[in-house]
């Protein structure tokens, strides 16, 4: 373990110790401290994946890569997981000790990856020019894109419906697309003006989905993603980056946005409120002079053990809130950008 790792862990102890003594989930974080990194320079910080230990420390695992933006686990074995990064889709079978880039030159800059919980050999990845599908744990990939548009299929997010094998949503440049046969056929279920940035299924109600977009704000679906409605009260001018459901409270939902910061709903998406007091907020912020009115929130997540709300403020720090955004405190990972919070049930191991 390097000196940097020790420094990180010390900082993390300040804010990531679980509220309850025995958390039921392991927290994995995908992100990094990429400040001043450009292609070709040395990666002088620890980046990539972190695993929270039972003691509340974050342990780096895997390869040092500031470009990891996605993470997905095999539900049968949490030592098997996949990352999406600039180089493509990576896979490990041994909990991050060894890795393989599973994609080739023509599948690049993976934006998201997901595993079908009902068919765990099936893996889907969102890439810059569509969706790729694997039926053999990412050993091989295929372009199963019938029904996706020839252009406009830049895909930022893929998410599997946990209730039915092969039912997958893809958030593309021009809308939300759905397959119900494992990517053999896709159809557009909601056209958007611009990119769909995230799609998530409620842990409480499998028919309830929320999507976030670049110019349509947030979208809600109460029929399993067949129809979608624009969420009232969520601004639409700028991008909403992601959505997180609170597994401890069916009414609580949070949105993360560069411009708007953290938006929350405590009534199942009927109304929304900005909760940014205590976040760095309208400040010099992410590099002096840039977008001074923005809150620079890159990602939000909610801890299934206690409902703690997490917000990654770009290249500032990780922040946490134990009152669903009413107050915030800095929780370490100074200078980081976090692209994924993933909690894995310990029983799944």
């Amino acid at each position: 373990m390097t000196k940097i790792h020790h420094l990180l862990l010390g900082a993390l102890l300040a804010g990531l110790v679980p509220l309850s003594a025995a958390p039921q989930h392991d927290l994995y974080i995908a992100g990094g401290i990429s400040k001043n990194y450009v292609i070709g320079s040395k990666i002088v910080t620890t980046s990539g994946l972190f695993l929270r230990t039972p003691e509340g420390e974050l342990k780096p695992l895997g390869y040092n890569d500031a470009s990891i933006v996605a993470l997905a686990f095999d539900p049968r074995d949490s030592r098997v997981f996949y990352t999406g990064a600039l180089n493509g889709v990576w896979r490990t079978f041994d909990g991050g000790a060894s890795w393989r880039i599973t994609t080739g030159w023509d599948e690049t800059e993976a934006r998201d990856v997901c595993v079908d919980p009902n068919a765990p050999d099936h893996v889907y990845a969102a890439i810059t020019d569509g969706v790729i599908t694997s039926h053999d744990r990412a050993q091989t990939w295929a372009r199963l894109e019938k029904g996706l548009p020839a252009r406009g299929k830049y895909t930022q997010t893929v998410e599997v419906d946990r209730t039915k094998a092969g039912r997958v949503f893809a958030g593309c440049e021009v809308g939300i697309f759905l397959t119900e046969d494992g990517a053999q056929n896709w159809r557009c279920v909601f056209p958007t003006k611009r990119m769909v940035s995230d799609i998530q299924q409620s842990p409480h109600d499998p028919k309830f989905w929320v999507a976030t977009t670049q110019e349509n704000g947030a979208l809600l679906s109460h029929d399993g993603g067949l129809t979608w409605q624009v969420a009232k009260g969520v601004p639409t001018e700028k991008t909403i980056y992601n959505v997180a459901f609170d597994p401890t409270n069916a009414k609580r939902i949070a949105l993360g946005s560069w411009t708007y910061g953290v938006l929350v709903s405590e009534d199942g998406g009927a109304t929304w409120t900005a909760r940014n007091d205590g976040l760095p907020g309208a400040r010099a912020g992410w590099r002096e002079g840039i977008d001074p009115g923005a809150h620079s929130v890159w990602r939000v997540g909610i801890d299934p053990d206690n409902g703690r709300l997490y917000a990654s403020v770009t290249e500032e720090a990780l922040y946490t809130s134990d009152d669903f955004g009413r107050t915030w405190k800095k929780a370490g990972l100074e200078g980081s950008v976090i692209s994924r919070f993933v909690w894995i049930t310990r029983a799944a191991k």
């Binding site: 990429s34 070709g40 933006v69 180089n87 393989r100 440049e173 411009t259 977008d291």
Partner: protein
């Protein structure tokens, strides 16, 4: 994820920041422009220049840093390896360098260079340290065309050097065979794309090194003779394209990518290093452009073909060249993956005019058009004139990169593109610019939506212009070197001092040198520039009279349109949003433009075959048959 994946101009410069101890040709007198007739003498002078670079770099003192009293760098190691100097030190330095390996293509190819140069010089321990780094250190592939050329050339050669090893022996978990195959697949499809529909990063002021160096490594060290030949063909192809685009050694517009300094001081770019080392007619830049060190380390393995040398050195007259290029990959918000770029160049002895059709070509660093005039010594001279609409857009960045729109519009200004979101910038494309060039006349029209971030156009007026005269006719006359220039703004304007942008090459900003911006705050707008050689007229007044006499009509509503007769007697009508009409015929770029068409370079679209000619000399590069054939034409 806001991984900053665009910049390498800064990294280019990092390699160049070394003490300038007696860098002979950079600080010396201007090289001769005379053609060297004898092949042996050309070769000897080429090798002398190579030796100058290597000897200079190898002799640079070690400069302690705050954390390391004796830092090592790969450029020095490669220079000494190429000179076969100080073997023990090279091995020690390699081992130390590999203790803290970098990531990405800019780290990979110098290490490959050392690995091959050091095969018979480095100790087994030093070679092992390189090998181990390729197992333990993840390498980022990058996201631009030059990144991938460097990445896959490097991975190909390392897989070639260490064949038959399993996935566990490599950072990406793939075996030597898998890495070699994947690298070859990509390299072949890139070569195919570049020789059928055009190069994406065409005529870059700096990035030519990121093509020439990896390709020269491939042409030298690949075990597969077919790959060596392919790489050789591509080196000739790129160098011939480059040679035909230079004006006495310095590259002018249009460029797929440039930067805030070289777009005005045309000589000050890595491309000038390649003119110097290959042709010898212009000085190299400071530190030999940084990456030039690596080219020098392997350049002995390449012989500059005489036909390309003569295209660069011995024009013999004015010429017009039409070339087809393409944009880089458009991931989203575009109907096409690659958009065609139609280039026009008209080059004379004392000046050159170059352009493409304008529009949202590239995202940040494209330079769409200019007139560049020759000067006896280009160092420090801003010998160019052009206009543009300063445009910045999160959506435009999204087209080419996996970015969110909000952070990057300012974020890129920290990544070697400091002017990107500035009103006074003089670099970059705009979707609201349309350009037509006919020989030495350029008509640039602008139709800018009212809600656009910067609702004006900028015209660049160099400190080095003489006799700038705002004529009551509406033309602005000026003289640059032995070139007369007439600039016609189509709407009102005001003058601003241009204070420049800090780059690692030119670190000061805010110290005006006398350059000016003609800023015209009108959404419907335009610029006409007509150039001519001073020798064509009795005096400057005669040129002005000739320009005033040109038939010219224009209007700005509902869209800008210009109808004029050029100084060369061509009747042209250009209307924004429509195809230009030339002597009564509507111009169809898609049907008219070949891959290359001109007196020196000719290729059909889709052909993979380039015919390079100069006088009786002819070289044919054929990627279909993997042949390079030379002949003397009757």
């Amino acid at each position: 994820m806001n991984l900053r994946s665009l910049s390498c101009a800064a990294l280019l410069s990092l390699a160049a920041i070394v003490p300038l101890r007696a860098q002979p040709s950079f600080a010396g007198p201007m090289p001769s422009r005379a053609v060297v007739e004898g092949a042996d003498q050309r070769r000897r002078e080429y090798l002398d220049r190579i030796h100058e670079v290597l000897a200079w770099r190898a002799a640079q003192p070690v400069v302690p840093t705050a954390t390391d009293p004796a830092p090592v760098d790969m450029a020095a190691i490669c220079s000494r390896l190429a000179l076969r100097q100080d073997a023990a030190r090279n091995s020690r330095d390699v081992i130390k360098y590999m203790q803290d390996p970098g990531s990405g293509p800019f780290w990979m190819f110098p290490v490959v260079c050392a690995a091959y140069l050091g095969r018979d010089q480095l100790t087994p321990e030093a070679q092992k340290s390189i090998r181990d780094a390729w197992r333990s250190q993840m390498q980022v592939r990058g996201d631009t065309e030059n990144h991938w050329v460097m990445y896959y050339s490097s991975l190909y050669l390392m897989s070639d050097l260490y064949p038959g090893e399993p996935g566990t022996a490599w950072y990406n978990g793939k075996s030597s065979t898998e890495n070699l195959n994947e690298s070859q697949e990509w390299l072949l499809q890139w070569m195919d794309l570049s020789t059928t529909v055009g190069q994406g990063e065409f005529n870059p002021t700096h990035y030519i090194g990121e093509y020439m160096i990896p390709l020269t490594m491939l042409a030298t060290w690949s075990k597969d003779p077919a790959m060596r030949q392919r790489a050789h063909i591509m080196i000739d192809w790129i160098l011939a394209d480059f040679a035909s685009n230079t004006l006495h050694g310095y590259l002018r517009g249009a460029n797929s990518r440039s930067d805030d300094n070289s777009v005005l001081e045309r000589w000050n770019a890595l491309s000038s290093f390649f003119s110097w080392i290959c042709f010898g007619q212009t000085p190299p830049t400071a530190g030999y452009g940084g990456w030039g060190i690596y080219y020098a380390a392997i350049a002995e393995n390449y012989t500059v073909p005489e036909v390309i040398y003569r295209i660069a050195m011995d024009r013999g007259g004015d010429f017009e060249q039409h070339n087809l290029k393409r944009t880089r990959r458009r991931w989203r918000y575009s109907d096409v993956l690659f958009a065609p770029v139609y280039k026009t160049d008209y080059i004379r002895d004392t000046y050159a005019v170059g352009s493409n059709q304008g529009g949202a070509l590239d995202s940040i660093q494209a330079h769409i058009w200019d007139v560049t005039w020759d000067v006896p010594d280009p160092r420090g001279v801003h010998n160019t004139m052009f206009s543009l609409h300063p445009y910045s857009s999160g959506a435009a960045l999204q087209m080419y990169f996996v970015a969110y729109p909000e952070p990057w519009i300012k974020g890129v200004t920290f990544e070697g593109k400091p002017s990107y979101d500035s009103a006074d910038k003089i670099l970059g494309p705009s979707p609201y610019e349309q350009v037509y060039q006919n020989l030495d006349t350029v008509i640039a029209l602008y139709d800018i939506p009212p809600d656009t971030r910067f609702p004006h156009i900028n015209g660049f007026f160099s400190k080095d212009l003489k006799n700038v005269t705002e004529d009551k006719s509406g033309w602005i006359f000026a003289q640059g070197g032995q070139t007369f220039l007439a600039y016609r703004p189509l709407a009102g304007y005001e003058w601003q001092e241009y204070v420049g942008y800090a780059t690692l090459w030119v670190p000061e900003r805010g110290k005006g040198k006398g350059d000016r911006i003609l800023q015209s705050p009108h959404l419907k707008n335009g610029t006409i520039v007509q150039a001519a050689a001073a020798s064509e007229f009795k005096d400057f007044a005669a040129f002005q009279a000739a320009i005033r006499a040109l038939p010219l009509e224009f209007k700005l509503e509902p869209v800008p349109t210009v109808t004029m007769t050029t100084l060369r007697g061509q009747q042209v009508t250009v209307t924004y949003g429509q195809a230009p009409v030339v002597n009564g015929a509507t111009l169809d770029y898609a049907k008219t433009w070949k891959l290359f068409e001109g007196p020196y370079l000719n290729a059909e679209k889709g052909s993979r075959r380039l015919v390079i000619t100069h006088g009786k000399l002819e070289r044919i590069l054929d990627l279909n048959t993997l042949t390079i054939s030379d002949q003397i034409r009757e």
